[in-house]
C-alpha cells in the first residue's frame, strides 16, 4: 500500500515537473520576445521625444495606456477569487488552478504598474508622487494600493511554492547553475516538517483573509480614479461594484483560457479535467450575470434620465461612432459567452476556451470605452485647440507599447511554466493522501 502511494506520488511529480518547451513553445516565446523588444523601441522613442509621439492631447489625456492599466488590474484580482475566496471556503476542486490564478495575478499587477509609468511620460518624476503627493488624491491611493498588491501577489505566489521548490531541487539537479541557485536560495530550507507546514498554512490563511479586502480596495481605488472626477460617464456611484464585478469576470475568463492552453500544451488532462471547466463555466455565468446587472445600472439609468451630456455620450456608444465596439463588448464579450455556458455542452473545454477569449477581448474593448469617449466629452469644451485634439487615434507607438505589455505579461506567465510547476504538486499529493486516508 505504502509502495503504491510512493509510486503514485512519483508519477504525479514526474508528470507535473516543468519541462523544456517544444518547437511551438520556443516559437511562441520568440514571438513574444520580439513584440516586447519592438515595444521597448517604441517606448524609447516616447522617452526621447515625449508624449507627443502618442495620440494623447489636451482632450484625451488618457488613452489606451489607461485602458490597458485597467485591464491588467482587473485580471490581477483574480487571485483573490480563486486562491483566497475558494481556499477560505475549502473548495478543493480549485486546487489545480490556484497557481494559474496566482501567476496571472502577479503578471497582471506587474504590467499594470509598468503601463501606468509608461503613461506618465516622464518616469524620472515618479518619485514626486511620494514627495509631493496629497493623501486626498485618488492617484496617490492608486500608487499605494498597486505597490501593496504587487507585494501581496509575490508572497501569495511564493509561500505555496516552497514545497515545490524543494521538489525542484531534488528532481532537477541538472538545471543550469543560475536556476538551481534560485531554487536553492528560495526553497532549500523547506523540510516539509509539521512545524513548517503549520507556519506556512497559517501564513497562507492570513494572506487569504488579507487578500480579499486588499483586492477589493485595489479595484475600487482604480474605479475611483474615474468616479471621483465630475465627468460624463464617470460621475457614477455604481463604479466600484461595476469595476469589481467586471474584474472578476475578466480574471476568471483569463484563468479559463490559461487552463485550456496549459492543459493542452503540457498534457494535463488528468489534473485539469472537464469537471474543472464545468465548474468554471458555472462561476463565469454567475459573474457575467452580476456584471450584466451592474452594466444595466450603469447605462440604463442615465439613459432613462437623459441629461444632455449623458445623452451625447450614450448616443455615441449605442448608435454613434463607438456603437460597433460597444455592442461587440456587450454582446460578444458578455451575452454570447453567458448563453453558451448555460448549456452543459457549452462548459466543455473547447467552448469554454472560446468563451474565455470572447470575455477577455470584450473586457479590453470595454475598458477602452470607459476611458476614451468620456475624455472627448468635457463639460466645458476647450477653446483655441486644433481640431485634431478633439479626436483620439492611438499612434503606432502606443499600440506597440500596449501590445508589448500584453506580450510581456504572457511571457512572464509562459516562462513561469518552463521553470516552475504550474500546478501545486505538493498540495495535490497531500490532497490525494487525504482522500486515500478517508
Amino acid at each position: 500500500m505504502e509502495n503504491n502511494k510512493l509510486t503514485a506520488d512519483e508519477k504525479l511529480i514526474a508528470e507535473l515537473m516543468p519541462r523544456k518547451f517544444n518547437k511551438l513553445g520556443v516559437i511562441w516565446v520568440a514571438l513574444l520576445s520580439v513584440i516586447c523588444v519592438f515595444g521597448l523601441y517604441a517606448y524609447i522613442l516616447q522617452l526621447r521625444y515625449g508624449l507627443v509621439v502618442t495620440g494623447l492631447r489636451d482632450y484625451a489625456s488618457w488613452g489606451i495606456y489607461i485602458s490597458n492599466f485597467e485591464f491588467f488590474v482587473s485580471i490581477s484580482i483574480v487571485a483573490a477569487l480563486f486562491t483566497a475566496i475558494l481556499r477560505l471556503f475549502n473548495v478543493n476542486w480549485a486546487t489545480p488552478i490556484t497557481r494559474i490564478a496566482e501567476i496571472i495575478a502577479f503578471s497582471g499587477i506587474l504590467f499594470g504598474a509598468i503601463i501606468i509609468i509608461v503613461d506618465m511620460g516622464r518616469p524620472e518624476r515618479f518619485y514626486n508622487l511620494f514627495i509631493f503627493g496629497r493623501l486626498q488624491s485618488p492617484i496617490l491611493w492608486d500608487v499605494i494600493v498597486i505597490c501593496t498588491y504587487l507585494c501581496v501577489s509575490v508572497i501569495l505566489l511564493y509561500i505555496p511554492l516552497m514545497p515545490d521548490l524543494k521538489l525542484l531541487i531534488e528532481r532537477k539537479p541538472k538545471a543550469v547553475a543560475f536556476l538551481h541557485g534560485i531554487y536553492k536560495f528560495f526553497g532549500s530550507f523547506w523540510t516539509g516538517s509539521k512545524e513548517q507546514e503549520k507556519v506556512a498554512n497559517n501564513s497562507v490563511n492570513i494572506l487569504c483573509v488579507a487578500m480579499v479586502p486588499v483586492a477589493l480596495i485595489v479595484k475600487s481605488v482604480t474605479s475611483w480614479l474615474f468616479a471621483t472626477t465630475f465627468r460624463t460617464g464617470w460621475d457614477s456611484n455604481n463604479f466600484g461594484a461595476y469595476f469589481i464585478s467586471g474584474a472578476f469576470l475578466v480574471g476568471a475568463g483569463c484563468v479559463v483560457v490559461a487552463m485550456y492552453i496549459y492543459r493542452k500544451y503540457w498534457g494535463l488532462e488528468k489534473y485539469i479535467t472537464d469537471m474543472h471547466f464545468d465548474k468554471m463555466g458555472r462561476i463565469l455565468v454567475l459573474l457575467a450575470l452580476i456584471y450584466g446587472y451592474f452594466n444595466i445600472n450603469e447605462y440604463m439609468l442615465p439613459f432613462f434620465k437623459v441629461k444632455k451630456e449623458e445623452e451625447i455620450l450614450l448616443n455615441s456608444l449605442f448608435s454613434g461612432s463607438y456603437a460597433v465596439a460597444f455592442w461587440s463588448a456587450i454582446i460578444g464579450g458578455m451575452i454570447i459567452p453567458t448563453v453558451i455556458m448555460l448549456f452543459k455542452n457549452g462548459r466543455k473545454p473547447v467552448p469554454m476556451f472560446i468563451c474565455g477569449l470572447l470575455i477577455v477581448t470584450g473586457a479590453w474593448i470595454k475598458r477602452y470605452l470607459i476611458v476614451t469617449p468620456t475624455m472627448l466629452l468635457p463639460f466645458l469644451p476647450m477653446h483655441n485647440v486644433p481640431p485634431a485634439y478633439t479626436h483620439y487615434y492611438p499612434t503606432w507607438q502606443e499600440w506597440a507599447i500596449d501590445i508589448a505589455t500584453l506580450a510581456g505579461a504572457l511571457l512572464v506567465v509562459t516562462l513561469f511554466t518552463r521553470f516552475f510547476p504550474i500546478l501545486p504538486i505538493q498540495e495535490l499529493i497531500n490532497e490525494s493522501h487525504e482522500k486515500d486516508n478517508k
Partner: protein, 299 residues
C-alpha cells in the same frame, strides 16, 4: 440719343471686362502677407522682436499660423547679414525671438541696429521682408524719495546716453493679469532731461512677505524705440503671508491639511495591511529558520 446709348453700352462692357480682368488677376496672384514687426526691450537687456503675420481672407485679416520667419542682424542674407534665428508663427500668427548669446558682441558693438524679418516664398505667399530699427535705450527708476517715482529714459547717441524727450510712458504696479497705474494719471511725457516724476498714490496693495511689489515703467509701441518695460521691486506694499491652511483640513486643501478622518482611515488600512505583510515576511524567515535548525539537527 443713340450716341448716348452706345456710350453707356461701351462703358458697361468696359466695366465688365475690367471686372473680369481683375477677377482673373486675383485668381492668379498670391494673397498679400501683412508682416507687423516690433521691438520689445525688457529690463535694459538685449531686445526681443515680435512678429505678427496676417493675410486677407474674405476681406478679413486672418492670422497666418505655422509660417517660418528668418531674422537677420543689420543686413539681409544676400548681403551677408548674420542669422539671428528662425521661428514659426503660432496659431495666432505670432512669434517672438531674442538676440542669441552668440550675437551679443555684435549687438553691443554698434549704437543702432536693424533687424530684418524675412518670410520665404511659398505656394500661398510671395517672399516678404520687413525691417525693424533698433535704437539702444535705457530706463532707470529712482525710488529714493518716499512714494515718489522718478523715471529716466535715455538713448545711446554719439557715444553717450542722451535723454529722450517728449516720449509717452506709463508707470504702474505689476499685478496678476495687468499693470495697475500708480495714480489717476494714465500716461506721462518725459521732459527735456528725459525724466518723469510720478507720485505713488496706491496704498494697501498686497505685496510679498516683505511687502515688496513690482514697480513697472513702460512705453508701448513707440515708432522710434518700440516697446520698453522696466521692472523694479520696492517695499511699498503690505506684507502678505499666504496662509496655506486657510481652508482648514479639507479634501481640497494642501497635502499637509488632509482631513483627520481620511488620515485615520488611510493610515489604519496602510498599517493594517503592511503590518500583515511584515508578519508574513517574518513567517517566511521563521519557516527558513525552522528548516535550517532541522537540517542542522539532521532530521
Amino acid at each position: 440719343m443713340r450716341k448716348i446709348i452706345n456710350n453707356i453700352t461701351a462703358i458697361i462692357i468696359a466695366a465688365l471686362m475690367l471686372q473680369c480682368a481683375v477677377a482673373a488677376a486675383d485668381e492668379t496672384s498670391k494673397a498679400p502677407l501683412k508682416v507687423d514687426a516690433s521691438l520689445l526691450l525688457v529690463n535694459n537687456q538685449a531686445p526681443f522682436v515680435s512678429v505678427t503675420l496676417k493675410t486677407k481672407i474674405d476681406r478679413k485679416f486672418t492670422p497666418v499660423a505655422d509660417m517660418e520667419v528668418q531674422f537677420y542682424l543689420d543686413k539681409d542674407a544676400a548681403s551677408g547679414g548674420q542669422l539671428i534665428g528662425k521661428a514659426k508663427t503660432n496659431n495666432r500668427g505670432k512669434l517672438t525671438i531674442g538676440i542669441p548669446a552668440s550675437l551679443q558682441a555684435a549687438w553691443k558693438a554698434a549704437p543702432t541696429h536693424k533687424i530684418i524679418a524675412v518670410t520665404a516664398k511659398t505656394d500661398k505667399f510671395d517672399e516678404t521682408s520687413t525691417e525693424v530699427n533698433c535704437v539702444k535705450t535705457r530706463v532707470t527708476l529712482d525710488t529714493a524719495e518716499d512714494k515718489n517715482v522718478k523715471m529716466k529714459l535715455e538713448e545711446w547717441k554719439d557715444d553717450h546716453w542722451a535723454p529722450v524727450k517728449d516720449a509717452e510712458v506709463k508707470i504702474g504696479v505689476k499685478r496678476l493679469l495687468s499693470d495697475l497705474n500708480i495714480s489717476e494719471k494714465e500716461t506721462y511725457k518725459t521732459d527735456s532731461a528725459g525724466e518723469v516724476v510720478a507720485e505713488f498714490k496706491k496704498t494697501g496693495l498686497p505685496g510679498d512677505k516683505n511687502g515688496n511689489i513690482i514697480l513697472v515703467a513702460k512705453m508701448d509701441d513707440n515708432d522710434t524705440y518700440g516697446s520698453l518695460r522696466f521692472e523694479k521691486p520696492i517695499p511699498w506694499g503690505e506684507k502678505y503671508v499666504p496662509e496655506s491652511g486657510a481652508l482648514g483640513r479639507a479634501l481640497w486643501a494642501g497635502r499637509f491639511h488632509s482631513p483627520w478622518w481620511l488620515l485615520f482611515i488611510a493610515y489604519f488600512i496602510i498599517i493594517g495591511v503592511w503590518g500583515s505583510l511584515a508578519f508574513l515576511v517574518m513567517a517566511i524567515f521563521k519557516i527558513r529558520a525552522i528548516g535550517l535548525k532541522e537540517k542542522a539537527a539532521g532530521k
